[in-house]
Symmetry: C2
Subunit: 597 residues, 2 copies
């Protein structure tokens, strides 16, 4: 079986042509950033993904993580791979240099993280969760917490988890019941049960640092009474030395559809007197601190979807090139051909390829905005990039993950009967992808965030700006003889999106149920159009390169394919925009009809 | 966990209001058919499905069938359930009375079979395959073959299989290599390997009758050199007594994404001198005989999709009514509500419900046509119904199975994180459903059948008639104040379908690759519009009942829900028709672009 192969050409194209990497290199702390360095990092991470992580993907799926009396054993090879992963510095890549990180920009980290997820998504979840814990402590933790935990979380010597969900509190975090009682020494004692805790217990590291949402005794009801705590598996003294085992234990792991190698833990806090926890920031502000890192975590899950989609595409493409079946239609030749010659197989492959490239381009645009928002010299530029990143995060998360599921399913279809056989590997991608539209906030939650917080945050200014940029792009494309037809479809799609957004903004204010009923179709529509804008932008950049320079054969093939891929996307994906806008603007009454159930 | 519950109200509605059951009762052999009898059969089969098959669905999935030295052990309870299934006469239900069957019409059998698949699709595959074997022998076998095999296949004492696929011959049956050499006694000796043989070996019955495609020594190349053979697991003498074990063996079973309880076998023919087979009909006409029963088998897989979709819907609906999470948006009430009160959950539930009901209504319309095609007194009526059934079979198979996968995936989404946990049961439906768009001809194969054979078979007359009936329905709906808005969307969808069909017919003749590139989107479009026509027809029948009679509370609720469900489908599903037509009519060039891979 061929291993995952990082899509370096497309990634380098985005860094070289789409992103203003020089602007990012001008930001404080990013002085070392350069295209050369980035290419070298991508090549190295691509090699690590192919050689170390990819070979463990199927074996990890078959073996799974196993629970044994409170311990969790990860599949064979995972521990060695993790040791190499942190030794090679990958865990620290995008972390602050203050704590030992390499402080690489988000644009580069997003591409590298896509590789981890493409090669072995169950493995990649562990460092992904560690990064969330780092973000939370770095943003909101006391200097003591930072000094105690960040160096080892950044190096990867310790890993991190997020403990939010409880049996009665999934999407609804207001329902959290885990209690945290203050102790005399300023720490807290936590009691309660958390579920769905990714890598809540494992054998990859010596300590696990749990970030836990809980309520103090006199906390107000609801979301305003939730605090955030650090609860280490093994307690850590002020001297940084590791002390006693804390009262937090993994009591079981779930049997899941996919990501079998990633242990999804039920965690019991305080079965023996209470787990010792330290407050992050102030009491009752836990959700607020969570939201600081939530955008990053949600973006990361979107990238996970892209990684799995890319892997599913690579596998289907390799199969379609090898599998001989049937004569080519429309020719007189009788010999059998590889199924990639069959029009419907091409159509499916192109759905996979074009949507994956659209998602990648969109995610990198968002990542660049995150970089520029954090360090740009001009405050108004920072604000503009921040608004764009916040607006597009739920779109990236929701659209990339929902689309990843469809792409993985197409991958099975291209394999025919072989796709249903687990040994082939195509089925694992569907099983693994299927969680991505659920965790870190379901697509419904993302869509509500989009039409509520994100549209409203600046009076609709950010979303209006995005639409305006799309219209500008449409006008520019209309000047190109090659892309004029595509520009027409794109322009229609943009106006469909605009009408759906208008509907959502108006109704969110005075008929929130009507707006909510169309929120997910609107998010999908937004993703489709924003991804289309990115692909068409890429196509116009490719055309410029073809016209202006004298590219070599490989480059020429890449640019030609980029244009063809964008055109396919326009007619096969972007063309669905009006139908989706109809769902948003005309579908609420029927969805809310009380007589139907 | 709640068990499968047959959707009796909707099934009875279709038999009572949609289907002219009296016309079917006038057909020869169907004299006993009546609405009362049908209702009683549905109630009994519903009970069997809930009480006997449904409880084995998850246990069968977890345990799976196991291969042990050539034997296959089905999961605990399957053998007892099968024994009751045949003792109660369910296997013989739709079989010819000449061979001990009950000769029930297709409309009733389709509903009953939907129940088996809804309750336990891995179990239901065994009788489904037996029916295909019965069809093949009844249509094309010699009197000796019929007398030897049909009584015991009809009773279910023996089961049947279809042996088509070989490693190099999947969708491309022309590539079959299994050899059949004539012996002195008029029988044949078969040698070769078949893969993906559903219930090729098991412990449910004492004998297994394999229908096998193979080539005789001097057969012509390609599809015109394939013959059909009966190869029993245990040989049967002229006296009907069971003799020696035949040289056909199960050498392994597949590890699959789903339908774990259904053994998918690799069958070796002739490892010890050749498996004794008997020719069905004449040499080299095997594919032709296969095609006789292919339509029925493909229709049956479509029904399987409907059954799984219904089960996924029931599970999601039950969960959405129980699961408490979050306050209801748009109200001042702060208490948490069942998630069915959340607009996006309603939208997902209604996507599941409306598409499932649309698929069921379409499948029953096709089943009625099969009944009328086989027995109507008027030859032109027979021909008309036959043409409709043949035209709509690939649509039913392709659309109902692709949609079932999407519905099962929505079922997971409604469950949130719980949906990803296997114990919940929602994930199994996705895993089980995922094979249905692949076997008995992938959706690509169905779509090629549709735009090739089925559109062309009568110069496009059958498809033109369907479009005309849709336009008539649209005009009638426009008269209704309640459905006028829906009629507008429907009418637009019908014309979008018409334009896509026109494109496919024209291009099939002179640019087959362009037609093929859009064949699957066209099939989907056809399914969506045909299903919409059925739902809108049902809604208008429901309105008539509400206006004309004084129905009781339960009936009123059913009719009101039927109208609301149709309206939802119009705005959320039918509204996608124009986008799909664009894919068909404008998407071929990009899909066929040579520069893209």
């Amino acid at each position: 079986m061929t291993e995952y192969c990082a899509p370096l050409a497309d990634m380098q194209f985005l860094l070289r042509e789409r992103i203003d990497l020089e602007a990012i290199a001008r930001l404080p702390g990013y002085e070392d950033v350069s295209l050369d360095l980035a290419q070298s990092v991508l090549e190295q991470s691509g090699r690590f993904a192919s050689e170390v992580l990819s070979p463990l993907n199927r074996t990890g799926d078959v073996e799974g993580s196993r629970w044994q009396q409170g311990q969790v054993l990860t599949p064979n090879g995972f521990r060695q791979a993790y040791t190499r992963f942190i030794a090679d510095g990958w865990n620290a890549m995008a972390c602050p240099s203050q704590w030992g990180g390499q402080n690489q920009p988000r644009v580069l980290a997003a591409l590298v993280e896509e590789m981890w997820h493409g090669a072995n998504t169950a493995f990649a979840l562990c460092p992904m969760l560690t990064r969330s814990a780092i973000d939370a402590i770095a943003h909101s933790g006391s200097p003591r917490l930072q000094h105690t935990y960040l160096p080892k979380l950044v190096s990867g010597e310790w890993t991190g988890t997020m403990n939010l969900t409880e049996p009665q509190a999934g999407s609804d975090l207001a329902a959290i019941r885990t209690r945290a009682v203050p102790a005399a020494d300023g720490s807290y004692r936590l009691e309660g049960q958390k579920i769905f805790i990714t890598y809540g217990e494992h054998d990859l590291s010596d300590n696990i640092i749990h970030l836990v949402l809980a309520r103090t005794p006199d906390a107000p009801e609801g979301v305003k009474g939730i605090s955030l705590f650090v609860v280490p598996k093994v307690r850590v003294g002020d001297d940084g030395l590791v002390g006693a085992r804390n009262d937090v234990h993994c009591v079981s792991i779930e049997h899941k559809l996919g990501i079998h190698a990633s242990p999804t833990c039920v965690m019991a806090f305080g079965h023996n007197g209470g787990a010792v926890g330290e407050l992050v920031g102030e009491e009752n502000r836990g959700l607020e601190y969570m939201f600081v890192m939530m955008n990053a975590a949600r973006f990361a899950v979107g990238v996970q979807g892209i990684g799995i989609a890319e892997r599913a595409y690579q596998r289907a493409l390799a199969f379609a090139r090898e599998r001989i079946q049937g004569a080519e239609p429309g020719t007189r030749r009788r010999e059998r051909v590889a199924i990639i010659r069959h029009p419907d197989v091409r159509r499916m492959l192109l759905l996979m390829k074009s949507q994956t490239e659209a998602m990648r381009a969109l995610s990198i645009a968002v990542a660049a905005a995150v970089d520029l928002a954090s360090g740009h010299a001009d405050a108004s530029e920072r604000a503009r990039h921040q608004a764009f990143a916040e607006l597009m995060t739920p779109v990236t998360k929701g659209w990339c993950t929902e689309t990843a599921v469809k792409i993985a399913s197409l991958g099975i279809q291209i394999h025919g009967g072989m796709g249903f056989v687990e040994e082939t590997g195509a089925a694992q991608h569907l099983r693994d992808a299927r969680i991505t539209p659920i965790y870190e906030g379901t697509t419904g939650i993302q869509a509500n965030d989009l039409i509520g917080r994100k549209f409203a945050r600046d009076g609709g200014h950010a979303v209006a700006l995005v639409l305006e940029q799309m219209r500008t792009l449409a006008r520019a494309l209309a000047e190109s003889s090659e892309l004029r037809g595509a520009a027409t479809v794109f322009s229609t799609a943009v106006e469909a999106l605009a009408s759906a957004i208008r509907y959502a903004i108006i109704h969110y204010a005075n008929d929130i149920r009507a707006a909510s009923a169309g929120a997910v179709p609107l998010l999908r529509l937004f993703g489709i159009v924003a991804g289309g804008a990115e692909l068409l932008h890429s196509a116009s950049l490719a055309r410029k390169r073809l016209d202006a320079t004298n590219p070599g054969a490989a480059e020429t093939a890449f640019y030609v394919a980029k244009i063809a891929t964008a055109r396919f996307y326009v007619d096969h994906v972007l063309s669905q925009a009006q139908g989706l806008a109809h769902v948003v603007t005309a579908g609420a009454a029927a969805a809310l009809d009380e007589g139907v159930f």
